[in-house]
Each structure stands twice: as C-alpha cells, then as structure tokens.
C-alpha cells in the first residue's frame, strides 16, 4: 500500500482500522521525515534552559540534531546542528555557553546569531568565491516562544504557531501557566531525560492524545501507591484531584488530541500533595487564586495531551513536556523536561521533583510499563501475518459533540476519536496536502457555544 501513497486508506477512521505497516515500514518512515517533520511545529526546548546570552542546548527536530541558543541581543534561534561547509556537528555538547560554534572539522565558525564569522585562510583561499552571508547556519523557517516553550518549523508556509495550536492552546496553557492562573511563569528543572525506546514515535504520541483505556496497564503502581500523597497512605499513582470532574477527550484541527477535565460548577478543591503540609497549602492557595482570576474558566483542569505530531504534555501530576523523536521505524529517541512554577517554594520544587522522577521516564515506575507496551505493540507490526490484520480503533465511534461543553470535538466518555483524528491528520501530511486540508477537521466547520 505504501507504494501507492494511499495513506488515507491505511488509516481508515470511518471503520476504525489502522494498518500496522505505518508502525514498521521503512519507506513510510522515511516519507514521514520528509512530509511530517519538515512541515509541522516541533518542540525544541524552553527559554529557561538558555537564560543568558550565548547559552545553548542541543535538541532535535525529527531525526536531525538542532541547536537552541540565545544571541548577544537576547534573540533566540534554532539552527540545524551541521556545518554548512562539510556537515560536521558544530555543537558537540548538551548545553553550555559560547560566543561561537566552531566546527571541529575545518574550523568554520559561526556566531550565535548563525552568521559565518570565521573561515580559516579566507583571504588566501576564498577571496574570489565565498559570500559568507550565504553560508550561515541553517535556521528554521519559523520559531515561536510560547510562554517559555520554544517551538519551530522548517515550513515558511505553515500557519503561525498560535493558529496551528488552535483550541489546543487553552489546554497546553494548563501545563505552561502558573498554578495560580497567572500567565506563564513556569521553569524547567535542570536535567533532561533522554533515552531510546524501541517503539514507533506515533505509539507514544497517540498514547498521550487521550488513550485513557490503557489505565489498566498501570495497575501495579496504583496498587502500590506512588503519588504525592502516598506517604500519607493514599493509593494510586497520582492524587485523585479529578474525582468529581467530568473527563473530556477533545480533538482539534491539526490533529492535536487532549484529555482534560471539567470540575463541577462549585469547583471544590480536592486535597492533594498531602505528604508535605507546605506543599499542600501551596496547591490549595493556588487553586483558590486561579479560581478568582479565571472564574468559570478555572473549571477546566489538565490531564495530558499531544500537540501534533510528536510533542506531548502532562498537565500536573507529573508536569512535563516531552518529544517522541523519530529514530527509525521502530525506534524513538525520547526527551522530556519537567516544569514547575518559578515562584514555587523550595518544598514544592523538592517534592514534585522527586515525584516526577519516581513516576516518569525510563526509571519511572509508571512509564516503565508504558515502554514495555509500546515496544511490543511496535514489534508486532513486523509480522508477515500480523500486518495483514489492522489495529482496532473502534472505541466510542460517533460518540462526540462539537463545541459542547467546551470548544473542539468533544467526547465525555473514553474514546479513540482523538487517535482517529490524529491519524487522519497524519495521512494529510503524508499525502502532501495543503495546509487547508491538513487543518480541516469536524470542529473547524461547526459553530458552537463553547466557554
């Protein structure tokens, strides 16, 4: 099927069938790199990782290494990490501070604004030929600093980031805004989880766009209790902050899938973070503050989400941004950084930091079990027989409303609609559709009465 480029046929949302080949096929993978990852908006990092002029971190877009850095005028840039002369990486470090990126190979050097500023023996060897202005580091077509999180795309014609996010923005805000409802104000802990997991990148991306059905997979941590109130005897892997909330599974134009929740009208605070009274008090205080600031809007509380194609977030327990970088058809390089309110007291930072570590990533008690599932599910797609049998995505077919009770294509019961829409959008990229087609979505065409 891949040969015919019939990607829509491989992700049949009408019947809820997804061809296993999209998680295994080499050719499909290389086309993804070309058609999905050179066009869509990708997460690069966070401005608090590069606070000073000359600061940089290494990151990744698709399968390629990029540099996120701040120039002497405080401007943030994202460059492909490759010398424009002969391709060697100009940055070999995970992070640091520098005036220039000097290529180890032939020592062309580039300023942190990307300009080529040094060419050895330039006068003797290049006086007649080299226009240095043309050989700057390769910079992304668009970059956007959204509340500290840095995003970029290689496509000049892509919608700007805010337009690209659409209604998903309100939900990403739940991770990026301060707990007391003030805009932004989050920072990243030092230490970025980077690891390689033998799964296709779409499997975890889909997992975070609203696969709540896999909850059962985490029964071991739920039995044991590892949440921020576990020391006080609470079971579960997180506190039950959503016990009285209506869970919402929401799909948005552009393939973004969100799982948030809506508190009842009285919006009562549920006690959480009980293992430290100072932390509990902080969350309680912030909850009330947020309600005062946002009113009715404060009823929407976060869970998880995926911003198409490969950025996911945890809104609160734990709170993090994560990229599933394609690393081969059956391998992902994962990076995750963790967020906390910049203004939070030390007790809060300590408690959540330690909770994040025991919850998430390859050493995290919850996510280890995900990794096993993603690995084996991906591996199954190799089978000559197995791949004749599509995956089943028929959960809650048709059970959604448009812009009710919140903007978007909304289910109030567990659903695979977010995944169906994710793959529909994926097919649009894979068939090189224009942005109008990529962003077309049931929630876009309808009018509603969302809050």
């Amino acid at each position: 099927m891949a040969e015919k480029d019939n990607y829509s046929g491989m992700v049949d949302g009408i019947n809820g069938l997804i061809d296993r080949q999209i998680f295994a096929n080499e050719k499909i993978y290389s086309i993804e790199l070309e058609r999905v990852f050179t066009r869509s908006w990708l997460l690069i990092g966070h401005e608090t990782q590069i606070p000073n002029n000359g600061d940089f971190i290494s990151s990744r877009m698709g399968a390629e290494s990029v540099i996120l850095c701040r120039d002497p005028n405080r401007k943030i840039h994202v460059f492909l990490n490759t010398c424009t002369h002969r391709g060697m990486k100009v940055c070999l470090y995970d992070e640091g501070n520098t005036a220039t990126f000097t290529c180890p190979f032939h020592a062309w050097s580039f300023a942190t604004d990307g300009k080529l500023v040094g060419v050895p023996h330039e006068k003797d060897l290049y006086s007649k030929s080299l226009d240095k202005e043309k050989w700057s580091l390769i910079e992304v077509a668009q970059m956007y600093n959204y509340k500290g999180s840095i995003w970029a795309t290689w496509d000049k014609s892509a919608p700007n980031f805010i337009e690209y996010l659409g209604g998903a923005k309100d939900h990403l805000d739940l991770a990026l805004d301060s707990l007391d409802g003030s805009e932004g104000g989050t920072e990243v802990f030092g230490g970025v989880h980077k690891w390689i997991s033998p799964c296709n990148w779409k499997v975890p991306a889909e997992n975070f766009c609203g696969d709540s059905y896999h909850n059962v997979s985490h029964i071991s941590v739920d039995m044991v209790g590892i949440g921020p109130s576990a020391g006080s005897g609470e079971k579960g892997r997180r506190d039950n902050e959503l016990v009285d909330a209506q869970h919402l599974w929401i799909s948005f134009p552009g393939g973004h899938g969100i799982h948030s929740a809506m508190k009842p009208a009285n919006n009562e605070y549920i006690e959480a973070y009980k293992d430290n009274p100072i932390v509990e008090e902080y969350y309680r205080h912030c909850y009330k503050e947020r309600e005062l600031k946002l009113g009715e809007r404060a009823r929407i509380v976060p869970f998880v989400g995926t911003i198409f194609p490969n950025t996911s977030f945890h809104g609160r327990q734990p709170r993090a941004l994560c990229s599933w970088h394609p690393n081969g058809p059956q391998s992902s390089q994962i990076s995750r950084f963790f967020l906390v309110d910049k203004a939070a007291p030390k007790e809060v930072k300590d408690l959540v930091r330690r909770y994040y570590m025991r919850y998430a990533g390859p050493a995290g008690m919850t996510e280890q079990d995900d990794m096993e599932n993603w690995n084996q599910a991906t591996a199954s797609c190799n089978g000559a027989i197995a791949r004749r049998f599509p995956f089943n995505y028929q959960q809650s077919m048709g059970d959604y409303k448009i812009n009710d009770p919140v903007p978007g294509m909304v289910s109030t019961q567990m659903t695979e609609e977010n995944a169906r829409q994710f793959y529909k959008c994926w097919a649009s990229y894979m068939e090189s559709q224009d942005w109008g087609k990529i962003m077309s979505h049931p929630a876009q065409t309808a009018t509603g009465n969302g809050i």
């Binding site: 995970d94 690891w195 071991s220 044991v224 576990a230 570590m357 390859p362 050493a363 008690m365 096993e372």
Partner: protein
Amino acid sequence: MNDLGEKNKLRRDDYYYRLKQEIEEFLYDEAELLDQRNFSEWLDILSDDLIYFMPIRRNVKFGTHNEKENTREGYDISWFEEDKWTLSKRIDQIHTGKHWAEEPLSRVSRMITNIQLQNVKPTMQEPCEVGIKSRFLIYQNRSENECNTFYGKRSDILRLETGVWKLIRREIILDQNILMAKNLSIFF
C-alpha cells in the same frame, strides 16, 4: 566523583585489607541477593536514611566537567534520587506480578569489581563508617532476546548499625549520555 589522590589514599596495611575483605563480602552478598531476586532481603541491608542517587550525565565542554557533567542531587532531575521508601515501593511493585517492565522478571548478573576503601571512620582499627569505590558491570536479559549491559562506577557509604553493616549512601555513575536502555527497571 572525587578521585583517589595519593593524599586521600588509605595506607595499605593489614587493617585495610582485612576491612576490605569484609566489605567485599558485603558487596558480593548484596549482588547475590539482587541476582537471586531476594528483593525484600536486600531492603533489609539498606539503612533507613539511605540516599540512592544516579545522575544524568551530559556532554559538556572540557574544563566544566566538575560543575556541569552530572545533574545535581537535591536540585535537578536525575535518573534516580531515591530513599528507602521509594525503593521499597519499587519492590512492592515487582511483587504485584503486574509490573510489566519486570514481569516476567529479568535475568540479571551483577559483577562488582575495582573495590577500594576510602574515608574510614573513626579509625581503621575500629571502623563504623566506610566509603567504598567500585565498578559494576550488569547484564540484564529479559523477555526473549532483549539485552542491556550497564557499565559504571559506584560510590557507597556503609555504616555499622547495631553490629551490622548497612548501606547509607549509593551514588551510581552510569557511563551513558542518552540512555541506551528503554528502562532502568533493575537495582544498581
């Protein structure tokens, strides 16, 4: 990790070797408990105030290694920054039989080598607290054909508690940048 400069190096006398032998036995017994999956018994040799720490290691410029290479205990996100409570939770999780990253259990062999003592308190003759450097090589085989090999360094502190050695601190330096294993589901 501090290097063992001549200045800090303990004198290699009979007391040193006698204590070293005792400590080596402790570490081999510990490895045996873990390799034999006697996780609850392993928990018993950990002190109640244990710190179990594995930083993330970064590629940094020459000259900045001491301050920048490893993530910081108490401030940053690391692979592990645990206490006895969280380790006991990890063991409880394995014992549920539903922790899919360790169900069925991995086959693991731990090799502990290059053992050297440092910072023996209060005296070599009557030690109550011992700092130990070692290297580990851990082979993990799980499911049908999945293999991970972990090489690295450990920096331990043992304390005598009512006549028995207990582990009060373990710093694990895994010699990897991007973690090559999908999970760190074993104990180091």
